[in-house]
Assembly symmetry: C2
Homo-oligomer: 341 residues x 2
């Protein structure tokens, strides 16, 4: 739902305004357009926290020198279907898009493509690269490490990243796209619950005394959000970080600055798998459709059970028709051609 | 700890006895030995539930015709680094070992190898195949689907599998090996808590009335264990099933018999990545070691924080020295050359 503090902006206007700002900040025309689209796409699909509403922080990262607008990834080494790239601290969303594109190309030639990327910046909405792969008709899997923001299970200090992972499977009726971080709730979500005066629906972290709690304010105070599945998400977050840093040769979470304004030098992984290279595509569609149909037959007393990404196309249509929701203060700032520092 | 109902058997004796039984049930000598080792390895490493204590169920599956002792996987199709195999309902642990071996070989030639396996049987301890890859000096990732045993988030009927996933990263000081299913607790773990008269340490499922509970008996009654991270683990379980079935061309969870004694025709994925193909191995070791060192510096008021798999080598040494713990009744049964039906 659009809040009173939000307005709706036509998609094309949004892209044009954002791209214009990026050009002034040193982006080439085409790259400015592509980066603007990735911000607009996130908001269009309902991921407002990592879409246009995050644009001001990205602008600050450009002005702070955290992101180099002109830097593009370079190939460091390759062997077969496996490649290592250096993101040279360029814009994270463009680096990620290019590396997923490269993984897709590798999958056309090898069935699978695997690109590990070092020295990149925040990719904003990770789901964009899953959709990119699925739109190309291939399976996409990618993940990133992050700065330390999640205590390992059994500890009180944040040493793990909440390392989002994306898994996308193409399907004519609507891709299946899972986009999830390793913390049960993001800090953004925790803040939203607090502002609405609500408790979290399930425990989402610890109090300063180490008790599990559903109170958002208590978690903001302790800085101890909960990994999904307690010890399990803690282990998975660690492994995703190790895989990304070992394979890219880049930095691991513990080496990254613990400041959202300075978070940089991330390590990421992009995998594409071309299912049509080893079997008839129509059979694969049947399999995926049958899984979805079975899920939809679930016995639920509340909301119908949905597959990951099921709501996206509906929200996308709605937002394209009615305009993309943007925070009014941010848009006003952007509309004046300057973004608050 | 060894319970009074457990005895300790030397590793080699264990393998010899198990292999002897398998030969009588139709295994070729070499395959009997390898399968026996995989059972013994699981118990040796402390995964008793999927080691020798599960041998009687495997024998029943052989006698029921669920598992064909002589069947071996055949290559169905291949393209580059991607292969599809048909397990022909052979022994799940041998099929899995062979497919990980094949993925490792593909990774030597292509940097990465990806094998999707249809029509296989329960692989017992999934961690075995992670250790197999890491012992070969490569990264191993594998997962399996299972029969329906986990309700999707928001539903009360089990339609998802608890689909275990394994991620293994080789390291001289001890591999990092994560081996985790999508349910917060296995039914085996839930039963153990009930038998000890204990509550689960965190909520692990629902009552028949749909309330979250830590009472093991209530979860056994409702048959509604909890996915890790609630909606997140539910989504991840679904995606792992879709990936395994779509890529192998095999069956998805909803097509599998809902009976542990009849569970068969599983779909699995085996991935190996050779990090040495794209960068200096010593640098990769440094990166992994540094992540482990940082984790060990975690602030904990209780047990020290450990990485996935950290306890295995110690337990392995201990069990090899003192004998492998096996349930006494099961060993007595096995020792008499017959296994209870």
């Amino acid at each position: 739902m659009v809040q009173p503090t939000e307005i709706r902006v036509p998609y094309n206007d949004l892209v044009k305004v954002l791209a214009g700002i990026l050009v002034k900040l040193g982006f080439e025309q085409d790259r400015a357009h592509r980066a603007a689209c990735l911000f607009a796409d996130a908001s269009r699909d309902g991921v407002y926290s990592h879409g246009v509403n995050r644009f001001p922080r990205f602008i600050r990262a450009l002005r702070n020198g955290v992101v180099d607008p002109k830097a593009t990834p370079v190939l460091v080494s390759k062997f077969g279907a496996l490649e290592r790239w250096d993101g040279r601290l360029g814009p994270g969303m463009l680096n990620a898009q290019q590396c997923m594109e490269r993984a897709i190309a590798l999958s056309r030639a090898n069935g699978i493509g695997f690109v590990a990327l070092a020295n990149t910046n925040h990719w904003m909405r990770g789901g964009n690269y899953g959709w990119q792969a699925a739109d190309a008709g291939v399976i996409g899997i990618c993940w990133t490490n992050t700065m330390p923001n999640l205590p390992p299970w059994g500890a009180s200090d944040p040493r793990l990243g909440n390392n989002p992972v994306i898994i996308a499977v193409p399907r004519a009726e609507g891709h299946l796209v899972l986009d999830m971080a390793m913390s049960q709730f993001s800090y953004g979500a925790i803040e939203s619950y607090r502002l609405r005066g609500q408790m979290l629906p399930v425990p989402g972290g610890f109090t300063v005394d180490g008790e599990l709690t559903s109170d958002p304010a208590a978690i903001e105070q302790s800085y101890r959000p909960l990994p999904i599945g307690y010890w399990k998400g803690s282990g998975l977050a660690l492994m995703l970080d190790v895989l990304a840093s070992v394979l890219s040769g880049g930095k691991a979470t513990h080496e990254l600055p613990s400041d959202p304004e300075r978070e940089t030098s991330l390590s990421q992984v992009f995998i594409a798998i071309d299912p049509a290279s080893i079997g008839p595509p129509e059979r694969m569609s049947e399999i995926a459709d049958a899984v979805v149909d079975d899920l939809h037959r679930s016995r639920s007393s509340g909301e119908p059970v949905r597959y990951p990404g099921e709501q996206v196309l509906k929200r996308r249509r709605d937002n394209l028709e009615r305009g993309i929701p943007v925070n009014a203060a941010i848009w006003s700032d952007i509309g004046h051609g300057s973004v608050s520092k």
